[in-house]
């Protein structure tokens, strides 16, 4: 696999090219470090569904996170995280390349009702959105509205952004001053300020302010890198400065900084070429051959290696080594022709539409995202020549769009399968309702809630009367009531009996005793029983109220259920054509994107072919000059240009 060069800086505006015959392209891709829109002190999760959103966010699954966030807001499940949710939503839209939507959300957060740290972050993200859309003055104004420091990594990123914005506004001195205020220069630069200095330094080179550029680039070119990315940045800084010195006619200074570039690394080819030219500028051609011969044996795909194929015979010619010069020029012509044929093959493959799918198939990730960057290229003819193009902002953004469109097509396709299940669910609801309604009606008919409530009220009135009358016997148990009634009947019989009969008198006495005993029992239990009856009545009240509540719910559900089912049916029916229409549009947009990217890829390949043709012509011209001089039998140095 061929790995693309990665640089830390997230915004893909730092591709700069030095001019002239040195053919240096300083390309930088975007960060492999995925942005965290909510860097800062994590807040405790107070709503479970907020935690659910974060679960996907922390895995960089922005599509899932955004979908769940929107759904949770629709269900009103984020009551404790309303502001954080909006901030995250804006960040997620930004992560998904939806600048306008992100900008709208962040603007809404800019009012006095939100805390200062939220407003600061909203200003920061708005500045990013505007910067990305090239509204530089608005971006600068937004950054100036931030009060105090931002949390975590956002703070150095803010300073970097500020420097970038000022630079692109042409206010280079202000950009440098902003950098110096944030972090004075020196060898102990952190990653953020190193990138800022590099970018501004290269911009100075472009505008011809070499001494200013040197000050910044030299600092970056001597940092002690802790990571591979910083090491690559250091190489780029030395490369940029080296070629700037070369162009400015200072080859010795150029050689000194170019020799700091690692011998094996993404910039080594260009550095070797530059070191050779530095020596050649001082007419030290023998020394110049050393790096060029090393370079010649490297991959001819590289522009520096192609140039070395011409530079070597040129040096031999300068050293009057005519035979070697001829050999090398001939070798160069053959190599260029071979490469040109390979480029033709690649162009043919791209015209057949194989470019993007070859690239995307090689990408193992399945996540939509603005911060997705191509990590590996397939080692295929159609991709081999396209490093610089693939690192360019236009191509990367176009590729991201294409990839996102394809992912969204797959996403919609899986939802389309679910629609059948939704339709089945709606039918199931209808059938279930039709089946259950008769049974439900039977249950409801069996229960006479009004009658039960009437009985309950009657019971309460009865107990009130008992309490009012102090009717202790009314709360007797069934057995006690039986005994009481028996006693009353006995009393009644005894009342009619002969009072002179001593047995009758005895019976009356016994009956009086038993009645008294019963009354005593009733009295002593009365309060407890009354309390118990009251308690049971309260419980009955509660149960009755619950039964009534459920009754109302059931009735309401029964009334609303059919309408709700039909609403679901309408929603499901409406989704099918929408999905079909969107899928069609996605397909057409993906094709258009594919055609556009293929067009710029072919344009790039044709320009490479053109360069090879020019080199080939130079080589042939130089060969012709040598043969010419040889045929006139006067040894002289051949020139290539």
């Amino acid at each position: 696999m061929i790995r693309l060069i990665k640089a830390k800086f997230q915004f893909q505006r730092i591709a700069l090219a030095a001019t002239g015959a040195f053919c240096v392209a300083l390309a930088a891709g975007a960060s492999e470090e995925v942005e965290r829109p909510l860097v800062g002190t994590p807040q405790p999760v107070k709503d479970l569904h907020w935690g659910d959103v974060l679960f996907y966010f922390y895995q960089d699954d922005f599509l899932q996170a955004l979908t769940r966030l929107g759904a949770a807001q629709d269900f009103n499940r984020l009551t404790h995280h309303t502001v954080e949710a909006e901030l995250l939503k804006g960040g997620l839209y930004l992560s998904l390349g939806q600048h306008e939507e992100a900008g709208r959300i962040f603007r809404m957060l800019l009012n006095d009702n939100v805390p200062l740290d939220v407003r600061n972050r909203a200003w920061f993200y708005l500045a990013k959105v505007w910067y990305q859309r090239n509204y530089l003055q608005e971006a600068a104004d937004a950054l100036a509205s931030i009060r105090g420091a931002l949390p975590g990594d956002l703070e150095p990123e803010r300073h970097l952004l500020e420097a970038q914005v000022l630079m692109y506004l042409g206010r280079y001195d202000d950009a440098v001053r902003a950098l110096e205020r944030w972090q004075p220069g020196g060898k102990r630069l952190d990653a953020w300020s190193a990138y800022a200095r590099f970018n501004i330094g290269v911009a100075f080179v472009r505008t011809g302010r070499i001494d200013d550029a040197a000050r910044l680039l030299d600092a970056v070119g001597q940092i002690s890198p802790q990571t591979e990315e910083l090491a690559a940045l250091r190489d780029k800084a030395n490369l940029a400065l080296g070629f700037a010195w070369l162009k400015d006619g200072k080859p010795n200074e150029a050689k000194a900084v170019l020799q700091r570039v690692r011998l094996r690394g993404p910039q080594s080819n260009k550095a070797l070429l530059g070191v050779g030219w530095a020596d050649a500028a001082e007419r030290r051609f023998t020394k110049a051959l050393v790096p060029w011969l090393e370079l010649r044996d490297r991959n001819l795909l590289d522009a520096a290696v192609q140039e070395a194929h011409l530079a070597i015979p040129y040096a031999y010619a300068q050293l009057d080594a005519t035979r070697q010069a001829v050999e090398q020029y001939t070798r160069a012509v053959e190599a260029f022709e071979q490469e040109s044929r390979r480029i033709d093959q690649s162009i043919a493959a791209i015209r057949e539409g194989r470019l993007l799918d070859a690239i995307i198939e090689n990408d193992p990730a399945d996540k939509v995202g603005w911060y997705w960057q191509l990590q590996n290229l397939p080692d295929a003819p159609e991709t081999r020549y396209l490093y610089h193009l693939l690192a360019s902002h236009e191509f990367q953004e176009g590729l991201k769009n294409y990839r996102d469109l394809k992912l969204m097509q797959r996403n919609l396709a899986s939802w389309e399968l679910s629609l059948t299940a939704f339709e089945d669910m709606v039918d199931t609801r209808r059938q279930a309702f039709e089946q259950r309604t008769p049974m439900l009606q039977q249950v409801l008919d069996r229960v006479d809630l009004d009658g039960l409530e009437a009985q309950q009220r009657e019971l309460e009135l009865r107990v009130d009367e008992i309490e009012r009358e102090n009717d202790v016997a009314a709360l007797a148990t069934a057995r006690e009531r039986e005994q009481w009634e028996k006693i009353l009947r006995i009393e009644e019989v005894l009342q009619r009996a002969d009072p002179s009969d001593p047995l009758v008198e005895e019976m009356r006495e016994k009956a009086r005793l038993v009645k008294g005993r019963l009354l005593w029992d009733f009295n002593s239990s009365y309060k407890a029983r009354l309390w118990k009856v009251r308690k049971e009545l309260r419980e009955l009240n509660v149960a009755a109220a619950e039964a009534r509540r459920r009754w109302v719910l059931v009735e309401r559900a029964r009334e609303e259920f059919p309408a709700r089912t039909e609403q679901f049916a309408e929603r499901v029916a409406g989704l099918k054509p929408r999905i079909a229409q969107l899928s069609g549009r996605l397909e057409r947009a993906a094709e258009a994107q594919n055609r556009y990217l293929a067009h710029i890829a072919i344009r790039e390949l044709e320009s490479q072919k053109k360069r090879l043709a020019e080199y080939s012509l130079q080589a042939r011209f130089a060969l012709a000059s040598i043969y010419d001089r040889a045929s006139s039998a006067a040894p002289s140095a051949g020139g290539t240009e």
């Binding site: 479970l48 679960f55 629709d74 236009e394 769009n401 929603r571 947009a589 258009a592 994107q593």
Partner: protein, 152 residues
């Protein structure tokens, strides 16, 4: 950037916005259809561990029937450690009492294997029921346990 690119980019942004909105609508509809609020039960897993703990899996049984058996990738476990909460199960339950059994397995410091469980009685009423299973070692240092919280 060329005008062609900008025009394409605008169209792609607009399309993506429609797809994102549609995604949300479909997600909401799916939940409303399959798991209506009055019968919905959802079980969430979260972590609050001070010592190292690598979560491997969580198994959920409701009324003695296994309803979820989830294997966590390192990425997902990392997301939990950062404070994410995973909705491991969503389903439907009738009103009344139910039994939830949850078991988690993982590795603690010194590659020690852990397997812990919790049994919970759930009272399902009218309205959605949420249960949070928090794997925590705060109470018993270096010994992760389930802490169960019920949300209505």
């Amino acid at each position: 950037m060329s005008e062609d690119f900008k025009s394409l980019d605008q169209e792609v942004q607009s399309l993506k916005k429609e797809v994102l909105d549609l995604n949300r609508e479909l997600f909401v509809l799916e939940e409303e259809l399959l798991f209506p609020a009055n019968t919905q039960v959802a079980i969430f897993v979260s972590m609050d561990v001070g010592e190292f703990f690598a979560l491997d899996s969580v198994t959920i049984k409701l009324d003695n029937k296994e309803v979820a058996n989830y294997l966590y990738t390192p990425r997902e476990a990392e997301a939990l450690l950062k404070g994410g909460v995973h909705r491991v199960y969503i389903g439907n339950l009738k009103a009344g009492e139910h039994e939830l059994i949850a078991i988690f397995t993982g590795q603690g410091p010194n590659a020690r294997d852990y397997r812990r469980g919790a049994t919970v009685k759930l009272e399902k009423g009218v309205g959605a029921k949420y249960v949070e299973l928090k794997i925590s070692d705060r109470a018993s240092r270096a010994q992760p346990e389930f802490i169960v919280k019920q949300w209505d």
